[in-house]
């Protein structure tokens, strides 16, 4: 009895030591993320106006995500590595479940867990680089063909399921996160060239498998004016919002494109258009610099990681972050087709924020367990 109590006490102390100490984070990265989240919330307050719920909801989700980041930062990379195959398998299973019984407008993406709904595809954005890093860190580097083929298969499974939902944007991100691991693992340049050539050759095949609405989006992207009142509307109005912002912007809450509802999806996919309209080129450049800083800082953490798994994972998470920015920023500016990729920490969307910050939690953990300086 006493023994049991003592045991419990020991457990309690261990729990306290492990979880309740002050957070150990990479403060430059944490501050950059906080700043970015602040920008995002301020922008959403205006983009969602007169509805202030949008900004507050996003703030709540940011808090949840930040808490998760702190918690994950306390899990050692070794533990993460140990759980990797199970997490990966779990995420693929959830994707299968969604494929069978998911819900969502037009596309089956959501899983209703009664308390909250979430997109298993977001989970894959994390488990994919973990799994790739896990596989490649086990063998010799640069990776042999067998490992590469295995990773390729492991990428294709979740990516295929997500693309089938259909959610091309997320599938793209999942593929990218896996590819970054391979790239960072040192895959030979000639192999990279070969894969690129194969991808180019496969494009017509991919076209064949694309949904009509996806094909239409691509056409519309190429010539927005042809579908002025339909999908082209998004692109044109977004360009008008961005362009009319000029160098200095119209000012916070002075943007007309979102307030008058010319710009659709102005809190989610096109939140950055609102930001561009109200803060101008100056704001855009500042935010892009912040993104570059975050990516760069993430890569530094990766470079200093203790082991190969941590290094590859941290590197992939950082570089994936860039893909979000590029795809969303390009879409808003009309140089990339409309796909549902959010602007990190600026677009409204719960799961995306939480998943992003969870990823940064892993980076923090890797930072906390970095190589000791010689």
């Amino acid at each position: 009895m006493i023994l049991a109590l003592e045991g419990f006490g020991l457990h309690l102390r261990m729990f306290a030591r492990r979880w309740l100490r002050p957070p150990a984070l990479d403060w430059p990265l944490a501050c950059a993320l906080l700043l970015l989240a602040g920008v995002g919330l301020v922008n959403l307050y205006s983009a969602g106006a007169p509805d202030t719920k949008v900004a507050f909801n996003q703030g709540a989700r940011f808090l949840i995500g930040a808490t998760l980041m702190v918690l994950i930062s306390r899990i050692s990379p070794q533990s993460l590595r140990k759980w990797t195959p199970w997490l990966y398998a779990g995420s693929v299973l959830l994707l299968l479940v969604v494929a069978v019984m998911g819900e969502g407008r037009g596309a089956h993406r959501w899983l209703d867990l009664k308390i909250f709904r979430f997109q298993p595809s977001e989970l894959s954005k994390l488990t994919m680089p973990m799994m790739a890093a896990w596989v490649l860190s086990r063998g010799e580097l640069p990776p042999r063909f067998a490992s590469l083929a295995l990773v390729g298969l492991l990428i294709a499974i979740p990516a295929g399921l997500i693309a089938k939902q259909p959610d091309l944007g997320t599938a793209l991100l999942v593929v990218a996160s896996g590819m970054f691991v391979i790239f960072l693992a040192g895959m030979a340049w000639w192999r990279i060239g070969l894969v690129a050539a194969a991808a180019a050759a496969a494009a017509p095949v991919a076209w064949h498998f694309m949904h009509d609405y996806q094909k239409k989006r691509l056409f519309t992207f190429l010539d927005p004016a042809a579908d002025r009142l339909g999908d082209g509307w998004h692109i044109m109005q977004s360009e008008i919002a961005v362009g009319s912002g000029g160098i200095w912007g119209k000012g916070w809450h002075q943007g007309t494109q979102s307030a008058l509802e010319f710009l659709p999806e102005h809190t989610t996919d096109f939140a950055f258009a609102v930001f561009s309209e109200e803060w101008g080129l100056v704001g855009v450049a500042a935010v892009i610099l912040l993104y570059i800083f975050i990516v760069g800082r993430g890569l530094m953490i990766a470079a200093n990681a203790r082991d190969t798994y941590s290094r590859l994972l941290a590197g992939s998470i950082s570089m994936s972050f860039f893909v979000y920015v590029m795809v969303n920023g390009g879409m808003v500016a009309g140089i990339l087709p409309v796909v549902g990729v959010p602007m990190p920490l600026i677009s409204y969307g719960g799961t995306s924020v939480v998943a992003l910050l969870a990823g940064f939690g892993m980076l923090m953990s890797i930072h906390n367990n970095r190589r000791s300086p010689h």
Partner: protein
């Protein structure tokens, strides 16, 4: 081995990470350059595009000016009414949806084919988010019915507006005229900026003549609209300039008296103050209710008016063509005196029949008056005197002089729709019918028959010239204007006087004496006794003209009813020496000017007498010579 590997892996990673980072920076640099392109290079252009789609300038129609009589009696008012409007953009299902909606609306509210045609024309001129009126002046019943069914018709609204109303109804139908909905022809003619929000326009009478003054200038409202065209806020407002209020010189009391004196007879009355040309009464019978036209007259009502053989829509006072008969004699006399062909005391012998020297054909006189001077010739209306006078003058001199009185031309009265009439002349006959002039025509012209056509307003104008002893003051109805209710009433400038007619005071004295004798002398003065028990001396002249040529096929029918065989007229002014009012009564059918037209004129003068002194009179300086 393991350690070396780990170090090599780290080195490989570092190299790859640096390459990756550089590529990322390059890509994001490219992305920013796209933003530079959009925000700097094309910033101004997108700024304009953004403003263009959010800022909308809407026209605010001005309130139409009111119309009063000279004493402030309201003749044309603006009253609140309700109309049905459609915002085409908010109608579901595009063009087909609109057709369906119009069909279904028809079950609830009567919508005519005209309404729909006008709606479509107006719609084509407006932006999709602008309201387009469909039906005006809804009845309370219709408003109630629509309210119950409102949910069935998204995009359809009931909106208040101001509509024209004529409180005195038919009484001023011809003088004031009416407004109506802008029709398709007008829509293409009007300045779309000035009339952007306006639905009505003056169609006839004063409403048309003074359209520009009454309409005012539209204001504008700069608003910010959202993607659905809903107004979010007003950015700028320029208030419309309301149309001017007009005070007519017409006296509603005299107008009413003239209308009552005419009764059901087809004809016209014009009363003018000869001292300034101000029209005091302008009546044409039959009348109609101008209120019918304001919000679109029904086909049945319109047919009733247009198919009525009495032609109620014809404004006989300014556009009715009458054969003047003997009413032209004072003017022919003036020509003789002024051109030196006669003196007042020169005499002519009437045997009952006149012959042009050397011709067999006889020109009839009513009776053998014997030797008459000008005075008696006018008082007894002796045709022979004027036959010979006209013959001696010759047509060129005669019509040349009569043109100075304004015959054969518009008087320029400020009421839309004036007619021209015909002043017979050799020139006119050649131009219109390509026929040569014969001396017989001159004889006929001398007593107001033959080719003559006058409008009552022309005759009244000529009469004021005689009454004013040669001063030529064009008739007009605008007395004063006001820029808004409560603003000072400003007298309207009088039209420029025409050149004086005649130069000899004796001319007018002789004519006035003749016309006085016609009313005040014993028989055979034509209207002997008409001036009885009237405090002022009345001077007048009758006219009894053959309605139809004896060679006309309709003659036999008309001949059977002798009471209607003539067009009868009477012209008079009073007080004879210093006239304050000149009246012309013209009837399309009657026995004689003396028996039918003159008593009507007397009734009007009696009515005028009651308040002749309580209206301040506008004196004008003597007209320019």
């Amino acid at each position: 081995m393991r350690l070396r590997n780990a170090r090599a892996d780290a080195e490989t990673f570092r190299a790859r990470a640096i390459v990756g980072f550089l590529v990322i920076v390059l890509c994001l640099g490219a992305l920013v350059s796209r933003y530079v392109f959009l925000q700097v290079y094309r910033g101004a252009e997108f700024g304009q595009t953004s403003d263009k789609q959010r800022i909308s300038v809407r026209s605010v129609p001005p309130v139409r000016g009111l119309i009063y009589d000279r004493n402030g009696v309201l003749l044309a008012d603006n009253i609140a009414a309700f109309r049905l409007e459609i915002v085409p953009e908010t109608v579901e299902g595009g063009r087909k949806g609109l057709d369906k909606l119009l069909a279904e609306l028809g079950d609830v509210i009567a919508i005519s084919a005209d309404d729909i045609e006008r709606f479509r024309a107006a719609r084509a001129k407006k932006k999709a988010f602008e309201n387009v009126p469909l039906r005006l002046k809804l009845s309370e019943d219709e408003i109630a019915r629509f309210s119950v069914n409102r949910w069935r018709f998204p995009g359809v609204e009931i909106a208040p507006y101001l509509t024209r109303a004529y409180p005195l109804g038919p009484n001023f139908a011809h003088a004031v005229g009416y407004v109506g909905r802008i029709d398709i022809n007008e829509l293409t003619r009007l300045d779309p900026n000035d009339y952007a929000g306006t639905t009505h326009i003056g169609k006839t009478g004063v409403e048309r003549w003074y359209e520009d003054d009454l309409h005012g200038a539209p204001g504008s409202e700069t608003v910010e609209v959202d993607v659905n065209g809903q107004v979010r806020r007003k950015l700028d407002t320029i208030a419309p300039t309301p149309g001017k209020n007009l005070y007519l010189s017409i006296d509603a009391r005299l107008q009413r008296a003239a209308e009552e004196a005419l009764g059901p007879r087809l004809g016209a009355v014009v009363a003018i103050d000869p001292r300034n040309g101000e029209v005091l009464a302008l009546v044409s019978e039959p009348e109609f209710d101008p209120n019918l036209f304001v919000n679109g007259i029904s086909r049945a009502d319109y047919a009733l008016l247009t198919e009525d053989p009495r032609k109620p829509l014809l404004n006989r006072a300014i556009a009715g063509g009458f054969i003047p008969g003997s009413t032209v004699k004072p003017y022919v006399a003036a020509a003789g005196l002024e051109l030196g062909v006669r003196t007042p005391s020169d005499t002519v012998v009437s045997t009952g029949e006149y012959h042009i020297p050397g011709q067999k054909r006889g020109y009839r006189d009513d009776f053998a008056a014997g030797r008459v001077d000008l005075k008696l010739a006018l008082a007894w209306s002796v045709n022979t005197y004027f036959y010979s006078l006209a013959y001696e003058l010759g047509i060129d001199r005669l019509s040349g002089f009569l043109a100075k009185f304004g015959f054969g031309a518009k008087t320029g009265i400020d009421v839309a729709g004036e007619g021209v009439g015909v002043l017979p002349s050799a020139e006119w006959l050649r131009q219109t019918r390509n026929q040569p002039w014969f001396a017989g025509y001159t004889v006929n012209a001398g007593f107001g028959q033959g080719f003559w056509v006058v409008t009552p307003i022309q005759l009244a104008h000529a009469l004021t010239v005689v009454a004013a002893k040669g001063a030529n003051r064009p008739p007009h109805v605008l007395h004063a204007t006001q820029t808004g209710i409560g603003a000072p009433v400003q007298l309207a400038p009088l039209p420029l006087p025409g050149p004086n007619v005649g130069t000899r005071a004796s001319t007018w004295k002789a004519i006035e004496e003749g016309m006085w004798l016609a009313v005040n002398g014993p028989p055979p003065s034509t209207v002997s006794g008409l001036g009885k028990e009237f405090p002022y001396a009345i001077a007048g002249k009758t006219g009894t003209a053959e309605r139809f040529s004896r060679f006309d096929e309709s003659w036999t029918y008309i001949a059977t009813s002798s009471a209607d065989r003539h067009q009868v007229l009477f012209e008079c002014f009073t007080p004879a020496e210093d006239p304050r009012i000149a009246v012309v009564v013209a009837l399309e059918a009657g026995k004689s000017g003396a028996s039918d037209a003159a008593p009507i004129a007397r009734k009007i003068l009696d009515a005028w007498l009651k308040y002749a002194d309580d209206v301040p009179v506008r004196r004008v300086a003597e007209a320019a010579p």
